[in-house]
């Protein structure tokens, strides 16, 4: 795999309980590499720490969050060690983010054009007038019809799909190297979803940026991503090129996720479901966090924590079932 431009190293993040002041750990040794010009999918059920990981990268964690260990390497610097002023040289400019809820992610009291122009004004030496003109071109770039008109409109005058396009226009305004998209299509209609994903992919191809795409939908990953990271309860449990993951899913959690994909079971009436749900961080098990839901659980899983091991080139998994293979 090529040299990564963003490298998350052994990141552990917890949240301080406002009453007991105790830190409840969520992320545990999360390591993720993002090469240039690459689409990385992150999958996992709700509550697995996908957003927390990306919020850490963007410096968007709430005040109650505590980063207990790790590094986020970008541009030969550790983003976690930067002060807010230094961080703002990267945020938006080099690494940009779009969110799940296009309906509420734009500021309702400012015009669309101004919200795009603001991004340019923050990171470039540009007058407000020129930034506004540039904003119209950014709207064109995300295929918004009559961009001059839309630039003058307020968010509430646009549909969800249009608003997400505007969000993409804002995020891509300064040609960032990495776009983090946190479930960018979950809130949208199926047809609109496909359009937004196609737009993101086209922009990525044009600008040679990378995308980190968080999703619940393995179908989306299959279509979009080069590589997948599977997260469960704050752990990275499997990492692989998309082809490898679908051909040879190796963590029981990944297998479960794949089995519950509707398209693989078109003949079955009932969908497969992994038994149980992701526990809340307070109840994360000490050793293998997936153990309570795993059909192959054995003694070792309950006492010793499995680490990621390489089972094939570009394929890593954290499961005791695969250790023999990895060590070999």
């Amino acid at each position: 795999m090529p040299e990564p431009i963003l490298s998350i190293r052994n990141l552990s993040v917890g949240f301080r309980d406002t009453e007991t002041k105790e830190v409840i750990n969520v992320l545990r040794d999360v390591s993720i590499d993002v090469p240039a010009d690459h689409i990385l999918g992150i999958v996992g059920e709700s509550g697995c720490g996908k957003s927390v990981t990306m919020h850490t990268v963007m410096g968007l964690l709430p005040r109650t969050a505590v980063v207990t260990a790790g590094q986020i390497r970008y541009d030969n610097r550790d983003l976690l060690g930067l002060n807010p002023v230094q961080m703002n040289e990267y945020r938006g400019k080099e690494i940009a983010m779009i969110f799940q809820e296009p309906m509420t992610s734009l500021n309702p009291v400012y015009r669309v054009g101004d919200q795009i122009a603001e991004m340019l004004e923050l990171h470039q030496d540009i007058s407000h007038k020129d930034a506004l003109a540039e904003a119209v071109r950014k709207l064109e770039l995300v295929s918004i019809p009559s961009p001059e008109k839309v630039a003058e409109q307020y968010p509430h005058e646009l549909s969800g799909g249009m608003r997400q396009r505007v969000m993409i226009a804002i995020a891509m305004a300064c040609d960032p190297k990495i776009l983090i998209a946190d479930e960018p299509t979950t809130a949208l209609d199926v047809t609109i979803q496909a359009q937004i994903l196609a737009l993101m992919k086209a922009l990525k191809e044009k600008m040679h940026s990378s995308i980190i795409l968080i999703t619940h939908d393995l179908g989306v990953v299959a279509e979009m991503a080069d590589e997948v990271v599977v997260m469960y309860a704050g752990d990275v449990v499997e990492k692989a090129l998309v082809v490898n993951l679908f051909r040879e899913p190796s963590h029981p959690y990944t297998t479960g996720l794949l089995k519950s994909l509707p398209m693989l079971h078109s003949s079955d009436e009932r969908l497969y479901n992994i038994v149980g749900t992701v526990p809340s961080p307070r109840n994360f098990p000490e050793a293998c966090r997936f153990a309570p839901r795993c059909e192959f659980v054995h003694d070792r899983c309950l006492v010793e924590r499995p680490r990621l091991v390489r089972i094939a080139p570009d394929h890593e998994v954290a499961c005791w079932l695969r250790v023999a293979q990895g060590a070999a």
Binding site: M58, G59, L60, P84, V85, M87, N88, E89, Y90, R91, G92, K93, A96, M97, F99, E101, T104, S105, L106, N107, P108, V109, Y110, E118, M119, L122, H123, Y154, H156, M167, I170
Partner: protein, 318 residues
């Protein structure tokens, strides 16, 4: 925009008309002699007959109503029992003082209260926030006459830096007069500010706390701007919408505040006039004051509605 304002003004005119009609009916439908109510007992028989003529008090109710409307339209609010002068003249003397006091208070309160609310909401839970909160809650719960007299006692008598009453000193003129008017306003404005500041601070604080949780604040931060800009550009404009709405609804309280403070500081405004007219049972003055107050409240409501229109583009214009 123009149509929205026109519609608000039309609504205001209708509200005013209803108020005027109610005022008319209240006086007429009371079980005492309306002539006596409206004219008082201090007129000579001749004057009385002339006034009955003027107001048509011997005519049927509907006809009286149109005479009354006609009089109002010409700015004739009747004669004060006590002062034997046209109510309109009295109000014209008093209203500018009250407006001066109220507009100054509102502007200062907004200028101080909104930033204070924004900042303490942002710094929720810190020592600064707790101090601001405590002061604001004191303001909400303070007994206004007590506050007024306390200020008067300390800053008017014990440490006489401010005048104890009135609106200006007749011996001054020109720029000295302007300064003098300002000095006379300090204590009444301070008293009124304590009452209203709390509302502005607590409302704004509450909405900033809500707004900071919104997704668009996360978007703003992800753009790479300072927290200062997130707070003052992206959060505060949104947070001000409920505050301005509240300010529009607080106008009734302003009338109460005017009566109390103007009375305490012998300030020659409409509030003190109302207080005196109640004591003197000067119905025409009260009726006039009622109509003028309704008119000011309606006007202020239109102004706040336009303010909100400017703040919140989601308001439907149609």
């Amino acid at each position: 925009m123009g149509r929205y304002v026109a519609r608000r003004v039309l609504k205001g005119v209708i509200t005013l008309l209803i108020t005027i009609t109610l005022t008319f009916l209240i006086v007429r439908l009371l079980p005492s002699d309306p002539a006596l109510m409206m004219l008082g007992e201090m007129f000579t028989a001749d004057q009385r007959d002339a006034l009955i003529q003027q107001f048509g008090l011997d005519k049927p109710l509907l006809q009286q109503y149109f005479i009354y409307l006609g009089n109002l339209f010409r700015g004739d609010l009747g004669m004060s029992f006590f002062q034997r002068r046209p109510v309109m003249t009295i109000i014209q003397e008093k209203l500018p003082w009250t407006l001066l006091l109220m507009v100054t208070t509102q502007i200062l309160t907004m200028l101080v209260g909104i930033p204070l609310g924004v900042y303490s909401g942002y710094k929720r839970g810190t020592a600064l926030d707790q101090v601001v909160n405590a002061v604001a809650i004191f303001g909400v719960s303070v007994f206004v006459p007590w506050l007024g007299f306390t200020l008067l006692y300390f800053f008017g008598f014990r440490l006489p830096i401010f005048p104890v009453g009135g609106a200006y000193n007749v011996a001054t003129s020109g720029f000295a007069r302007v300064l003098d008017i300002g000095e006379h306003m300090v204590l009444p404005v301070a008293t009124l500010m304590v009452i209203f500041l709390a509302n502005y601070v607590l409302y704004t604080r509450g909405s900033v706390i809500d707004v900071m949780e919104e997704d668009y604040i996360k978007t703003a931060r992800s753009k790479g701007m300072t927290e200062r800009r997130v707070l003052w550009k992206h959060a505060s404009k949104n947070a001000m919408i409920p505050t301005v709405t509240m300010a529009g609804m607080m106008l009734g309280q302003m009338v109460g505040g005017a009566v109390l403070t103007e009375t305490i500081y012998a300030y020659p405004g409409v509030g003190r006039m109302i207080y005196q007219a109640v004591g003197q049972q000067d119905y025409p003055v009260l009726q006039g004051a009622f109509i003028i107050l309704a008119l000011s409240v309606i006007t202020m409501n239109i102004i706040t509605d336009i303010g909100i229109l400017y703040l919140d583009p989601r308001i439907k214009l149609e």
